[in-house]
Symmetry: C2
Subunit: 348 residues, 2 copies
């Protein structure tokens, strides 16, 4: 195989994560301390693209483990409407790989002007975004060459997880976090079997991607990778939202990709997947550590068992990245050159 | 044409909206007063399906006109994870046509237990949802027979708009609101031309739907109607999010449906549509009151000119409902019997 940057960056992830979790633990604790020194009642988070999907992970994780409600910002209120909401008592967070998107910067600017505490989570510690931030979490993913984000996404997830543990310190959770690089390396061992599996979807031109709870973010990010790299219309849903209307689209053979590790939302996901397989005769591609659910799927992608649910998104997306990279190659596309995209997107 | 409930309910909208705006103005003012008596710092809103799209409208409107940041709830934190966030200083809002969805009810329950002010916006003033609410906004849409929401959606939007004006009283805005039923009636006059237009899309099986700002909600709701009634994979985006990756999917002839009335976000939408038409040779179906943008589209759907941008979502969606209803008929589907759906969806 040609030495594609995307493929190389997917394989860099265990080392990058290992270094991040080791090097930035103190930084995470210092940021957590600064947050806890203020009377923060909710988090106002702004991001686009893959970074927005990392924001979805924060929405669940900081909600479940840290009790922070999260409002995902609507940047046009800041840029086009010029009537930003009142951000009193908010922690304003911007997530951006490049630190360059003007709309993300304007939300942090406004937060600062309103006297809020501001935090940037970024791969570019010297960027216009970090100039506006009181606190900066450098995700240290190294320069990302491929247009489609991979290692910067898992680094953002790890940063969000590190902040969560730093905000509610628990030695057991730090220990779990430290195992992530090894679990990611185990996921990468499935590379060859995923190459074979992807061939079956050479002519798939649309699909839905289901995930819930912590892995709602994984469904969104997998769908985004599919759109960027394979040009498939891939629509992400939670199993609950899917039932409120979109399930009508499904007929026999319709491809449903799903992220369903064991954990608290597993009953919701497994109920939906069983209905879809047995009632609607769909085609299933499933990432899971549950034998029964894997057994339902035409294409089962096994996840190492024993990963705590809150950390599975960092491992699941790596399996999804491999699937998507190999599907792009099977379809004859260059994964380093998605059509019509640039690495930095400057939206207002 | 057979007397489909869906079609009848689409045509009921001017009268329902007229009655709602007339009958519930005082109720809206009383709710606004109760809200303003509390130290509310943000809104925590929960909804599913079409009601969730109405929540997206609130996200922009209450942000732009009332300075409230809105957090859209993640119900699984309440139901499956059983670790809800701390809702101190939040107004907790549940939007539900039927008032029956268990996950929406559990969010209101929790809000109540945490001592928050709770508000239900519903078509069912005597339902399990309203039992948990301190304040109830009855949208008075009348019983909705069709599975796909139409008149209950526009009534929810109108209720959200009425609350917005009640929270920041302005006689000019009340006067604008009172014109909505007439504008909706004018939209319905295009029924016959939309019947003809829809034929061209008989074999369309996927598309994207673009909208931004106040009409981000319209893009989501149009896409949901398409999925429910025509089984097309229709994915909604803001013009900004679309640029961050998904634009890669687009090639010549790809169908792009867009909601682009004049107003603050019009430059963003018109720039994107011009690029898509001229650079990518897409197929465009456009709802707008701007001659130039309508001129770009193979299928222009004109909107009455002079409607203030914040109220266009209530009118635009009616044009989109007609388009979708006639497309369902062109494809040979019964719009009253979407496959696999029930009127009340009970998710947890």
């Amino acid at each position: 195989m040609r030495p594609y940057s995307l493929y190389q960056e997917i394989f860099e992830q265990p080392d990058r994560l290992q270094a991040l979790i080791h090097n930035q633990r103190q930084a995470a604790c210092a940021i957590a301390e600064a947050i806890q020194a203020r009377d923060i009642r909710y988090v106002f988070l702004t991001a686009r693209g893959s970074s927005d999907n990392a924001g979805r992970y924060a929405n669940y994780l900081w909600g479940a483990h840290n009790r922070y409600p999260i409002a995902l910002a609507t940047p046009s209120l800041f840029t086009y409407y010029k009537s930003p909401p009142s951000l009193r008592s908010a922690l304003v967070v911007g997530v951006s790989q490049s630190g360059f998107s003007p709309d993300i910067i304007s939300v942090l600017n406004e937060g600062r002007e309103q006297g809020c505490l501001t935090l940037a989570i970024t791969n570019a510690p010297d960027s216009p975004l970090t100039e506006r931030a009181d606190l900066v979490f450098d995700i240290q993913a190294g320069e990302e060459q491929a247009v489609a984000a991979t290692k910067s996404y898992t680094a953002q997830l790890a940063a969000i997880a590190m902040l969560s543990v730093a905000l509610a310190p628990d030695p057991a959770r730090w220990a779990e976090l430290e195992k992530v690089p090894r679990w990611v390396a185990q996921a990468l061992e499935q590379d060859e079997s995923i190459v074979h599996m992807a061939q079956r979807y050479r002519y798939m031109d649309q699909c839905v991607v289901l995930g819930r709870g912590f892995n709602y973010a994984t469904a969104f990010e997998w769908a985004l990778k599919l759109k960027e790299l394979t040009y498939i219309i891939a629509e992400p849903y939670s199993s609950a939202d899917f039932q409120h209307g979109p399930i009508a689209m499904v007929e026999g053979g319709f491809p449903v990709l799903a992220v369903a590790p064991r954990g608290q939302v597993f009953p919701s996901m497994s109920g939906m997947l069983t209905t879809l397989r047995e009632g609607h005769q769909v085609e299933l591609v499933v990432i899971s550590d549950d034998e029964l659910i894997l057994g339902l799927a035409q294409s089962p992608i096994p996840l190492t068992s024993g990963i705590p649910e809150w950390l599975t998104p960092i491992v699941n997306i790596v399996l999804a990245q491999l699937f998507t990279c190999h599907l792009a190659l099977a379809k004859g596309y260059d994964p380093d050159q998605p059509r019509g995209l640039n690495k930095i997107t400057r939206t207002h």
